[in-house]
């Protein structure tokens, strides 16, 4: 069965996390190691009180266990040997940092059934908690939901899950040009189910399965570890200097330049929606970068409208959009993948970052939980995104950032996951 045995830790390796934690981790270590930041747990599904559903002591036990883990020499070898994006992309100083690394302390309370979980520390240290703590919380919740089922009923849950997975795979096979990537670590039902899903996708989808964001599973199955960066980079950089609107805007431009300095064009997938994609492509990314970078990831708003805008924009710049990559990754399921494929296939290169619907489709209500930068450098962090329902930050900050980034997006949709 795909649940942990009693007493077994949920996270058993520091590599059981998303690859981009390392690409971002090195970037942060090299440039912003000491910025004080605070990451906070947020449950966007208000009807589910996570603090009631899971036992805080058990959560604490799991979080404490991960703090006892260290990167093994084999894991460091694996990272050192990673050359798919550029030769020796992880430098020796960073690998030495990882060798000595321990996850920092955290603050955990439950208040009126609400789980309050904060991770305050220097950015280079605290960065790794997000994609460790989320699957822990998620798996504890899965266990809580399974607790009232008999063993055979639990097996039934996974039997149905496997049939659903196979059905999705058969649908994907009807369009053999569609390529998916596993992005399901953070909201996976359980560690073992995630491993099962990735194994089955790799075996059954073959060339249609490009890789996984999970480093442990990439190692385990010999797959390509995938990922570039997340919103936290843009969010923290926008906290460093709030003295003027121009400084905030400039922080976003600097991010692109510095990312390219760190990795060349190996990881040049832009994530444009932190403060609105329209502004990003008009005023942050330069036409030269548009030309040079591989493409972008679409993580909020309408993926087809987004794709059509990118295609138009590339063409305006004399760039053939068919040479550029678009990675939709916002709550995808087979229907939305097919809808995007219908609209955009052949016009731009597509890879689908398939997450929660791949690794948490076991018949239970899903919860949209995230761990986000709440503040950095003493000021509140802000994210707008192309879906205003996903915005995070203090209201006054959100309003200020909307003005700075000429945000007039009306798209608003509750997060599925």
């Amino acid at each position: 069965m795909f649940m942990r045995k009693k007493g077994e830790p949920i996270i058993q390796s520091l590599c059981d996390t998303d690859f981009y934690k390392f690409t971002m981790g090195q970037f942060v270590l090299h440039r912003y190691p000491d910025v004080p930041v605070r990451y906070s747990f947020i449950n966007r599904t208000s009807k589910v009180k996570i603090g009631d559903a899971i036992d805080a002591d058990e959560l604490r036990e799991q979080l404490d266990h991960v703090r006892t883990l260290r990167f093994t020499n084999s894991e460091l070898h694996y990272l050192r040997g990673t050359n798919e994006y550029s030769e020796r992309m992880f430098k020796e100083d960073y690998l030495e940092f990882l060798r000595a690394y321990q996850l920092p302390e955290y603050d955990l309370r439950v208040k009126d059934g609400v789980l309050v979980l904060d991770f305050p520390d220097a950015w280079s240290k605290v960065k790794y908690w997000e994609t460790i703590a989320l699957p822990i919380i998620k798996e504890l919740r899965s266990e809580a939901m399974m607790r009232n089922l008999s063993r055979a009923e639990q097996e039934e849950v996974f039997a149905k899950g496997h049939l659903r997975l196979m059905e999705k795979i058969r649908k994907l096979r009807t369009r053999p040009w569609i390529v998916v990537i596993d992005f399901g670590t953070r909201r996976r039902f359980s560690r073992k189910w995630h491993a099962h899903v990735v194994r089955v996708m790799a075996e059954e989808l073959r060339e249609q399965f490009r890789g996984t964001s999970n480093v442990w599973l990439a190692m385990k199955y010999g797959l390509l570890p995938m990922g570039t960066n997340a919103h936290s980079l843009a969010m923290v950089l926008a906290c460093l200097d709030r003295s003027s609107d121009e400084a905030i805007i400039e922080s976003q431009r600097r991010l692109l330049r510095e990312w390219e300095e760190e990795y060349g064009l190996g990881l040049s997938i832009a994530l444009p929606d932190t403060y609105g994609s329209d502004y990003f492509f008009r005023h942050i990314m330069t036409p030269e970068q548009m030309r040079a970078w591989k493409g972008s990831r679409q993580d909020s708003g309408d993926p087809i409208i987004y794709g059509e805008k990118r295609i138009r924009h590339y063409r305006e710049l004399g760039i053939d959009p068919r040479e550029k990559m678009l990675i939709p990754s916002d709550g995808l399921d087979i229907m939305s993948i097919f809808r995007i494929d219908d609209a955009l296939n052949g016009k731009i290169k597509l890879s689908y970052g398939w997450g929660t619907n791949a690794t948490d489709d076991l018949g239970f209500d899903s919860v949209s939980i995230v761990i986000k930068v709440a503040e950095a450098n003493g000021v509140g962090a802000v994210k707008l995104s192309d879906n205003i329902a996903k915005a995070t930050g203090k209201n006054e900050d959100i309003e200020r950032f909307k003005e700075i980034f000429e945000y007039n997006n009306l798209f608003s949709e509750e997060c599925k996951y």
Copy 2:
């Protein structure tokens, strides 16, 4: 997954067999140890050539492996400690026989895709092959059918099987007075799947699951080992003296007397259909036995007509049929169980011997394979049953036995399993 690992033997214990092999085995050892008999494999599903489907060398390897097995001391303890039917039902001389026991040699050939498999030896020795060789042949065929499936597709087969099993269990739960027994050893899809099905039935059906015919699984899960006797007893006894019709008839009466001598009334479930149930209850079993014996097993013909006849007969004798047991065991599925229940519940005690449909319902065509006594004491063995399509023996013998036993049954139906 519920398939054996490469190199793993299919049968791993001499107790992985039906309980009634032991109840009959002791009976035979005590009374007819040296009768020369020949058991033969018969595939009643002519469209499937078992000899083509499975590899004879692999079959040989599996059969040879079982010949290396011996009863362990723990298994002998278990049998010695079996007291559910009567105190110390297995005697020390029989347990000593088992301690020294090795399965005898066999004859195996494949001729034009037809598997020819014979077990000729003294009855007390050769008796055990049937329920060992059948699940071996069955599992090799299952493996042949699974071979063209990918691992994830094989997992899908078992996922669907588990859902089917749970659906059946939920249906059975709607009639909490229905009680089933696992009779699925001989045609189980695989050893591991059998173990899964029995575990789930025991956990989910609780009091509605009375026990299993498989001794290994009874031991493994702490269940009641169940079973009494099979047609082979009646068939071999009818071979001992063919000098007169009366001698043949008398052999059947003797069987009942001797069975009762061996076990008292602990195992007093009659199996009446070897030469037709109507004759059996009119001329073989005495009214005293009808009164004393616990009941009967219905293994061919129409179970409802059979049940109604028994009820009427019991009443004629002034016996309350609600004190008597009827065990339908002929190719049952949920629909037929419910049909029998609709007709007979409350009128007679019912336990359902549920076999192939419980342990081999994985979406593949089933095959009706048996290993039957072909000859004994130098003459051809005969079985008529209440379904003439199930009759075995030479034509002239069948005709003679039909006359002797005034067989005028018109029921004929191809075996599902």
